[in-house]
Structures are given as C-alpha cells and as structure tokens.
Symmetry: C2
Subunit: 354 residues, 2 copies
DNA sequence: CTGTTAGCGCTTTCAC
DNA sequence: GTGAAAGCGCTAACAG
C-alpha cells in the first residue's frame, strides 16, 4: 500500500503543493469524497475515511486558506493598523487584541502606517477585499493633520471598523479611547497638590487627538485651581523639527516652571534629561509627569511618574466590540465609545503628597 | 445615464460588495469584458472601457484580493513572525523589512509568537496555505529551548523561509544574523582597555542563540587578555523568575566587578539602577555596556554605552534574500548566511579611552 | 471588439 | 456511500 503511494507521486520535489484534487486522483475517488472524508462526514464509509485521512496525513495536506476564505466569505482574521511599532503602548494594546481575538477563534495581522497617510491607505487596501473580516485602527498623525478620512468611509461599506486611541469624531464607528482628558487633569492636579506653582505642558500640535485631550485636561485643572500659565509654558512639539531644541526652550526660560506635564514619555524623559544637564534638582526644583508607562519611564533616572494607560485592556475592549459587530446580523445597533481609565503612577520625578 | 445606474442598484445598503459580475450585469456586458476594460486592454473599445471604468469608480469597485491570489497563486505578501513586539530592535528590523518589501511590490504582515512555541506554530499555520509567498522569522525562545523545528521543515516544502537574528544551525535555509560574537568581543575589549579588571557578564541561558554567541565573544576577549572570571561573575538570567533578584546578586557580591557586559539593554539598565541604588559611582567604580541601542539605553541616566545592531539593515537584507528566493526559478542555489556588523556606541556608562 | 469557457482549491447541494 | 456540478471572484485562452 505504502509503496503504491510513493510510486505514483514521485514529484515530491516540493513546489507541487498537495491539494484535494491530487489526493482524489491518487486514491481514485472524487474530490468531494476526499473533502467529506477529511471532515469526518458520516456520508462516507469508515473505510474510505481512514484511507483518505491516512493519505492526507502522510502528505501533510493543509487546506488552502485562500480557497477556504473565498468560499466561506470569511477569513477569521482581523487587520490591525497602528501608527508606529516602537511605541510601548501600542505593543500592550496589541497583546490585548491578540488575546481577545484568539479566545474567539480569530487571528490577527498587524500593519504599520508609520504615521503616514499614504501607507495607511495602502495598508487598508491591501487588507481589504476579502483578506480580513474587520479592522482595528489607530489613526496616523498625518491623516489626522490632513483630516481626510475617505478611506475609512469606504471601508465601512465593506467590513466593520473599530477605532482605538487615535480616533476622530468625523468617523462614525465604534471607538475605544483612553481617558486622556482625565489623565491630563489628574497629572496636573497632582503637581499642584505637591506644591508646584508654575506649571508647563509639553504637548503635540492640536490635530493629534490624544494630545489635545490631555492638554484640555491640563487647562481645566489649571483653571479649577486658579493658576496662570504664560504662553511660553505651553510647548507644542512639531516632530518634523528637532524635538530637543523645542523642549530646551521651556527649560531654559529665565523664569522657569517648577512642574512639567508631558503628553508622552519621550517628551518627559527628554525634558528631564535637559533639566538635569542644567543641574536642576528633580523633583525638588522641578517635577515631571509623563503619559504612557513604558520602559523609558521605568528606566529613566529618577524614574518617571506617569499615567498608566492599560493598553492591554484597551485592546481587549476594542477586539470585543469589533467581533460583536462582525458576528451580529443586524448591523445597525448604535455605535459606542468606550473610555479606558488611566492610573497615576507616582515614582521619583515628583514630590510626595502628605 | 446616472439615474439609470442608481435605479438598478438600489441595494446600496452595504454588505452587497460590488463584484465584476455585478458590474457586468448592470452594464449588460460580460464579466470578461469588464475585467479587460478595467485593465485597459486594447481588445476593448475605448467607449466601453470608459463606461466600465466610470461605473466601477462610482461604485468604488475593488478587486477581491483573495480571488486574485487564488488565481495567480501569488499573494505578494510576506509573513513576518517575531517573538515580541516590545523589543525596540525588532521594530527597527521590521521597518527595514517593510522598506525593502514595498520597494519590490510586496506587502508585509506581522504576527507575534510571544516567545511561545505554540503560538509560533499557530501563526505559521495561519499564514501558510496560500496566504503569503514567504516567511521571515525570528525563533521564539521556547522553540529554541524545546529545539523542535518540524514546523519550519514542513513550511519549507511550501514557501521559502528566511531566519533572522534568532536562528538555528539545524534549520537549513537563508539566514541573517547580527555579529553577536564580535559584539561581545568588542564590548569586553573596550571595558578592558578602559581599565576594568573584574569583568562580569549578564546573559541569557545558553539555548538563546544570540545570548550564547555574545557570551562566547566575551569569553574570547577575556581569554585573549588573560583575565580570570570567577563563576559568580557569570549570570544567566532565567526570565521565568524575578529578573531583578538574579541581577542583584552580582552587584551585591562582596568582591564586586568593575565592568559589566549585559546582553540586552533591559539587563544593562536594571543592573545599572541597582548599582546606583547602592551608591556605586558610574562609570568610575563600575562600567556598563549593553546590547541593543534602544530607547532604554538612550534615556537611562547615565546614558548607556551599547552595541548598536542596525536592525533596519538586517531587515532589508533578510527581505532581499527572501524575495530573491521567491522569484528565482531554480530554487536550489545554496543557502547563505549574512552577518550584520555591530557598532560600539560609547555614551556615559563607561570610561573613555585615550 | 466582445463573449464563452475553464480553472485556481474548496465545500455543498443534489443525484445516483 | 459516492460523484457531478455549481459557485466564491477573478483572468486568460480561445472563439466568434
């Protein structure tokens, strides 16, 4: 028996992928018989089933997933598009997405827009058209700046879309966001309560949704506590130019701030280093709080107080919304927006409360 | 004309994806005519071409990529499997991969094994079977520990495979690695030349290929310069237990080292922090060099001297090898292994040479 | 210039 | 218990 198999298919010289058809031919049965046998259908005699399965195993048969998807009109894969891979925060989100997806039998594919509008569109085009059953995306900075969201609109006609972290009100879909406003408020309030009087913020341009929200939180706290903030204390970093030089300015101010809230850990760590270089004592003379509790905050010296964002939870929530949307028949239940809490994590770049 | 279109296809209520067939039906022509018109075939009259294209555009027609791939037996996508997303190094490799891939018309999909054998196998199964034209993988730690590579062997029957960074001699395929040995040597030599006499290494268990090579480089230098290294100076971190506690040991030694080489930036930064906590002066009393020039090294204080690994270049090289393999007819030219140089980047955790 | 047909790999009626 | 045929969406060889 074995010899028979080996003889007939001497083209084991790879490339020639084994298919249902080939198995059928070798065994002298029809493809549908093979298909049914492989899925253990009761229509097929036990004998034939065994024979087919043995043969398939021997040749390490794997169904062609493309064909399967084309036929089932389902891929069981989720496309994820994030702006940048190096962000520790996005890593944690992805781990949450993967976790939730696997639990419900889905797989995950990740693409990177590199903050570019072009690449975002390209990625969507590549993944759309049958490849994935749904999209999870965090919008690229350039797209936010351009404020052009047609690619998302088109997409929504085809498969469900859930936006996370970087969202936009113009796009009508399910969303998961961090409580950026609340985080900005908490951080600022903490600085105030630990005695800082002259508060500065290092943030992004306003088109970056999360930066804007964090700034709003900052300003609200400032206002609630009746603190004046001169305009030189508000730095909006343009990442197209030298970041360090822009941050330097606020540190070098003759009347410099004693508390700095930065909307990400890179800005925070950079500012802190610059301050240290000038011999400023941290946190006594200047306190720092960043957003995003990543490795940078952990390993900087002194370690940075931050707002921890619970990326894993965000990922899980986002994938849950998406899969629910994919699997629900009546697709028109209202879109929802989930807000994930942030926690203030006090380390050594800030003074202690009493 | 326009009205005609709109009337006939009133099911604009989404879900009903537009296909060639539907366009053909609406326009009263055959699918092949539509197909050819869309690809601007000269077989079709200009008039018809225009009409079809206009209609397709209006309905935002996008070819189904699954069907395309099934037909062409090509997907133009590369599957990448990496152990962990949070490693800055892998991020840079991926950027290189993407760059090279896009240049040659390929797209990239990334999956994460989370250092787990199981997930690695799962990812491969999901991407194999037609979804991708080739694989780029960096082996998970667990797989290295188990030393079970059957999934790669099976894979190679189907599509080309290129291993990068974490490789294994048992797997016969193209490979791209960092000069881990050379890096270990360079770092150690630098420590010696800047006056360190008591050298310690913080590394991984030996089954992690890159850790082993770096250790070998270290030992070679030690040997070349006739330095004795007591066994307590060699720490092999088991990541299943508390990392800090294990690293603590070498710092707390009564006769402690004055130069430490760590095989990654996390170990290096952790060790340095621990030393600082004990009031040890860096680099005067203890010098540090890590591997991987990521954010941690950059933002630690003092900033860490490291071996920069040129991940981008590695990614570009890997994708080049892979695509060459994919596109070459005669698939049996010999497998090659490329070695990417590392650069010693001196910052402030080490003394200066003269 | 346009249409018919076959086929990529698979599943699923529906006959036999 | 098994097989023929249709169809998922697309293209290309071949007729007309």
């Amino acid at each position: 028996m074995k010899i028979f198999y080996i003889c007939k298919s001497q083209q084991k010289n790879m490339g020639a992928k084994i298919t249902l058809k080939k198995i059928a031919k070798e065994l002298g049965v029809s493809t549908s018989t093979v298909s049914k046998a492989l899925s253990d259908s009761h229509e097929i005699s036990v004998e034939t089933r065994e024979k087919v399965k043995a043969f398939a195993k021997m040749y390490n048969y794997k169904p062609n997933s493309l064909a399967l998807r084309l036929r089932n009109q389902r891929s069981m894969v989720i496309g994820v598009i994030i702006p940048e891979i190096v962000h520790h925060f996005f890593s944690t989100v992805i781990s949450g997405i993967e976790h939730g997806a696997n639990e419900r039998g889905y797989n995950v594919m990740v693409c990177f827009s590199d903050e570019s509008y072009q690449k975002e569109v390209l990625n969507i085009e590549m993944l759309a058209g049958g490849s994935v059953d749904g999209f999870l995306v965090s919008i690229a900075k350039e797209t936010q700046e351009l404020s052009d969201f047609r690619h998302f609109e088109d997409l929504k006609e085809e498969v469900p879309l859930v936006l996370f972290d970087r969202v936009h009100p113009k796009i009508n879909c399910d969303k998961v966001v961090v409580d950026d406003f609340g985080g900005g408020y908490k951080a600022t309030e903490y600085l105030i309560k630990t005695g800082c009087k002259k508060l500065a913020i290092i943030t992004t341009p306003d088109f970056v949704s999360v930066g804007l929200e964090r700034k709003k939180g900052f300003l609200k706290a400032i206002n609630d506590y009746n603190i004046a903030v001169p305009s030189e204390y508000i730095i909006q970093v343009n990442e197209k130019n030298d970041i360090t030089a822009q941050i330097q300015k606020v540190i070098n101010l003759p009347d410099r701030p004693d508390g700095i809230f930065a909307v990400n850990e890179i800005y925070a760590a950079t500012a802190m280093k610059l301050a240290q270089d000038k011999g400023i004592k941290i946190p006594e003379e200047m306190s720092f709080i960043g957003f995003t509790d990543g490795y940078i905050s952990q390993f900087s010296n002194p370690s940075l107080s931050t707002l921890a964002q619970h990326g894993h939870e965000m990922g899980e929530k986002a994938i849950e919304l998406l899969i629910n949307r994919i699997e629900s028949k009546d697709s028109d239940f209202p879109f929802q927006t989930k807000v994930i809490d942030v926690d203030l994590k006090i380390r050594n770049s800030t003074k202690k409360t009493f």
